[in-house]
Symmetry: D2
Subunit: 392 residues, 4 copies
């Protein structure tokens, strides 16, 4: 199948099979919607569209970053788009890590079931007691004892922990190493491991959620896992995370652009259909026109920036493209927030109801400016990289 055909097929699938179901899906619990989502996943598989981001060797469609970016925009139109194609966070990132760094055993036990969609996974990095802006500071430790690690610590925003089979946990194994970027490792911990305590699904923006749609707070109380559960070598936690970062950012940003386009489309339709006085529609008002054209300009700009970054990653790798990757993070997050805000304002009272998807985006995507590095962190980083070039 040519990429163009894949794209068209996915586009129509999302519209017909996923967006159509939203009114029902959005207002139900994870356990209620799971059977229905599983049916859709089955159709995706039958249509040979499963795992678009994964290489053919591992059963995926083998798209590059630029191509998967385009798909991610299409899937991003619905909160369930990525899930249905098994390329949802955090599983997609975990698949990548396992493919790149997993041992044969780890692949057998964790990767293949994940690729098949039989299990879900999660990634435990964020901690309540340490600022995410400084990832080298962490309070979760693994102490080696014989063939085991004994883990203690406290994590939250472990998204999708609830109902998943294993967590990849970022933690300190080498606290005394000089280089703060060599202190951490990533270790696989089954979610039913003894000593791994589920505290709660943190209530976020009014909902604690469940299943894939939740953000757990968890504790490690002398949790014991085999040393064979480590990904790569001790101290490689950061370098592994780095690898995963670039492509992940492309996916995320394009997902946001998918939301932008859907919000933009809603805004335009409202502008054309809402009469404010005899024969004058909302779209005739200059404020609304300003928003429409500013949003159009900024969405276009955002997409071009992400595509440009994707090309750079495909050509030079994530590390050399890290300034561009940081730029799209803060730029796209801000565009998303603006577009959703404008669309809500054009909708008026209806914009804050759940009769459209806008309120969902508004609530769920405020975090876009925070997770994976707050805007301010990325801005400082970009500036330092730029200024460093001058000192060469």
């Amino acid at each position: 199948m040519e990429f163009k055909e894949i794209k068209e097929k996915i586009k129509s699938f999302v519209k017909k099979e996923i967006i159509a179901l939203e009114p029902w899906i959005l207002n139900s619990d994870w356990s209620d919607k799971l059977p229905k989502l599983d049916q859709i996943r089955e159709k995706v598989r039958v249509n040979k569209l499963w795992l678009p981001q994964i290489s053919k060797q591992y059963g995926g469609l083998g798209l590059n970053n630029e191509q998967f970016g385009e798909i991610s925009e299409i899937l991003g139109a619905s909160p369930y788009g990525h899930y249905c194609f098994n390329c949802q966070a955090p599983d997609a990132g975990n698949m990548e890590i396992l493919i790149e760094c997993g041992s044969d055993n780890q692949k057998e036990q964790y990767l293949y079931p994940l690729l098949e969609g039989k299990i879900r996974s999660c990634f435990a990095m964020t901690e309540p007691n340490f600022a995410g802006s400084n990832p080298t500071k962490m309070g979760t430790f693994a102490t080696k004892k014989g063939n085991d690690y004994i883990i203690n610590g406290h994590k939250w925003f472990t998204s999708g922990f609830d109902g998943s089979s294993f967590a990849i946990v970022m933690l300190i194994t080498n606290p005394k190493t000089d280089n703060p970027h060599k202190r951490a490792s990533q270790i696989i911990v089954p979610t039913d491991n003894k000593g791994l305590e589920f505290v709660r699904n943190v209530s976020v923006m009014g909902h604690s959620g469940s299943g894939w749609e939740s953000h757990a707070e968890i504790k490690f109380n002398d949790a014991v896992v085999s040393t064979s559960n480590i990904l790569g070598n001790e101290g490689e936690g950061f370098s592994i995370a780095q690898k995963r970062l670039g492509p992940g950012r492309i996916h995320h940003c394009m997902r946001w652009i998918g939301m932008c386009e859907r919000s933009f489309d809603l805004m335009c339709k409202r502008a054309l259909s809402r009469e404010i006085s005899q024969g004058i529609m909302l779209g005739n008002k200059q404020s609304v026109q300003n928003w429409i054209s500013e949003c159009r300009a900024e969405i276009n700009a955002a997409r071009l920036l992400v595509q440009d970054a994707a090309k750079k990653i495909d050509a030079h790798g994530s590390y050399k493209s890290r300034a561009d990757i940081s730029i799209i993070k803060f730029y796209c997050a801000q565009v998303l927030q603006k577009v959703v805000d404008c669309a809500i304002q054009v909708y008026g009272a209806k914009g804050v109801t759940d009769d459209t998807i806008l309120s969902y985006y508004y609530r769920h995507e405020r975090a876009a400016r925070i997770y994976d590095g707050a805007d301010e962190v990325h801005k400082s980083r970009v500036a330092r990289l730029i200024l460093k070039e001058y000192l060469k």
Copy 2:
């Protein structure tokens, strides 16, 4: 009791009795929290702080607009502040209308129980099919037939309908009158009236809510009420609404400033307590410092503008102060949004959780830029008023 004493008493009451209960209140249903809130209301009464906005003649504290503004800021710190003192929207506005325009019978049946806190009420104005920016366009009609009005129409965002005893309904009684501002009337309709259909509590920002914390969609299907249920005379719907508007805006804006101050306080505390690297707190970062000082400047500016408008209303009445009243609407709504946004950003991941009040403000107050006239409507109005002065 001197005003200063009242103020101090209320301040400490809000902190001790209301904010302290929030963690419990915020996460429960209206039916669960009602008994607790009723206990607090009883204490308010015992402390002689009940109905701060109402004249002494009707059992209140008799504060003027400027004074009640200060109280409203204090109460605004908690979502339940106004409710506990029986000065919450929409009941406070309805009390005002009934005091100014209610017949003796209407006062007997509706006003006094409302003042005593025995019943709740609602105000049905917004319609799903007509833009709120043009209040003269409406699809709800009352046709006179003998001593009755027969009402047909469709409303939503009838806040607090669920569990309330009566609605004041804005509707068209004189569709053919030339002056579009003389077509509407306000009519009292008991919520259990035949032909008044409860459609649903509209899900807003993820929750459909219940009781006082809900926004109903309702329909009038040949609902019949006595002509004695009209407030004032036919065609006076707008002029009655106008009267209510000015003081209402002061109260709302000061309530928002209360939220701003609470958010600001949370932001500062976080800035001081969150370490991002050895000895460096969030508050040492210039971006955070920028937000703190910009928010301080804008909150101060907002308060001064509202106090200034309150003085003008007290001195010259709402009509002559209408440009100022519109100005504080859009200015304060925007400041509120900025302050809450900054506070969330300073909190990081915790800012989007429900572990602080910030996410509640974020979700509930996006509507501040929409309800009671979208920002853009007020801006156009202010500009026209200003330009009109030049033509004199």
Copy 3:
């Protein structure tokens, strides 16, 4: 010569020959700098870099829009870049018009001397008494009388009139035609024509300037020109202007991006060299870092948008790309203003002096948001084009 080579040559030429002269050029009168600029032009010719925007047939380098865009960015680094390569406004646009619509005689008399750089020209469109946002409303008229047009009217912002040989004048020839876009024509008027009165060089941002660096106010008092001076046919004034518009906008926007890059470069150098306390440079401050990364993101986005629009023009023509052309107008103008503003702020007091180019940009480019259609006009146009698509 390959495009890549052309580009490199021009880049180094601008740096060595033009920017190097600026300190001297910027502070002198047009008559003083002209001999020096003529010398530089001669070198450009010798280096075979003359007329990069013109087809080979007419003695230029034959670059397409996308390519000339890149050159325009390079030339844009200096206020004299375009002039030295004979692709400066308004002459470049006039060349284009004459090539496309000029008669053999017109080409002989006006185009060839212009291409050779022997004369300068100007374009008289803007009028003091009519808003530029509505180009169909104009107060300059040409009345046919035998083989002559008798012209009356009032223009200003006729840039470069002072010292130029001829003006292309936009005026009404067919006032009664129904279609308001068919009323205007473009007519060539020699600047020494009887009845063409030079009123003044309008003082703009503190300077009235002279020569190419001026904006004249002129009056037509029964000025008589031959009917053979018309470009194309009567009523084609707008369609001719349209043709010129697309490529012109690419050139302008890329010129602005050239200014952005130069300002950005200055900002970074200042950030690295200005110490604010022991060992702490300006570039260590988070506010400065924010500006650097935001400006980097927005300049990149602007360039990608312009390149994208250039490709569309090259592929589909200006008319089909008009929404994109409007988008880059307002988007790039705003980015330019932001970047210059940030650079000035980083420079501090020095930023408002004429010791750097920044103050020059600041003063001269405020007009970028106004000329060729104010931002607001373009925003409304884009929104209407977008909404129209929905109605198909």
Copy 4:
């Protein structure tokens, strides 16, 4: 004379005598306009309006900060307002310093002629080689030798140096003192002092200016002055500067508000008089309406904030009000920039010409966000003061 009468008189004086002369004054050299300005000053004296900011004891009107704030707004409408009333910077600040800290001799020699308007003065603080954001870092030193100071250093932005009689120079006298705020002193240096070299009037925003309207770069090359020229004691340079700061900021901010009001007035008049299509004026467009109402809101807010700060200074002194003083600095500077920018945009092409005062404000007041402490410096300061309160 009552304050109200003073105010009315000054208002009408500014309009009739000063603004009326502007078209002539703005386009001439200082030496040309001086005789005319002297005539106006004479009239001010005759009308007993001279020195509104100075106590009656020293021959002024004896207004407090709040009152003089109101006057400063009125005078601020014209660039020559303050000059005509002899309350222009930097002389007004120098008068204050001399009154508070001057010895009898210093008063005799410098203060009285200044109060009478017989001489002008300047204040030399800013240095080209050190960031103004850190006032404790300075490269100008005075070394005591017998009864003399020998001064060496380099200053710029010594506004009004050209033609003035003396400079008050901020410099280091006690370089080794631990407290960096005790190292500087203020010393009077006659402008014709040997060793005080005039380098140039720095070209600012396109003009190097002359007389009061210039910003000199000067050098001290072993300039010798008597030790009796020091103001107060050695090391008191900062504390003297502090005293001067608060009232100075009120005056400046109210001057800016005067500019805001004049720009706002121009904007409204343009909105009402510029037709963009049949019967549709600029003021009918929603973008223009948005600007008008946003500017109105922000100007009102700015004035209320400044008045509030003035009251605090009058009640508690500058030191205790320093957070408020910093807030009005950055808040008002930003409002000024926004209002001028909006007014220019409403004017269109005419807005960038010198046919209105707007371009003058645009060029001269970009520096408002830089001088007397860049916005960012004040924002950090305010945040630190606020956070410090929490630690008490």
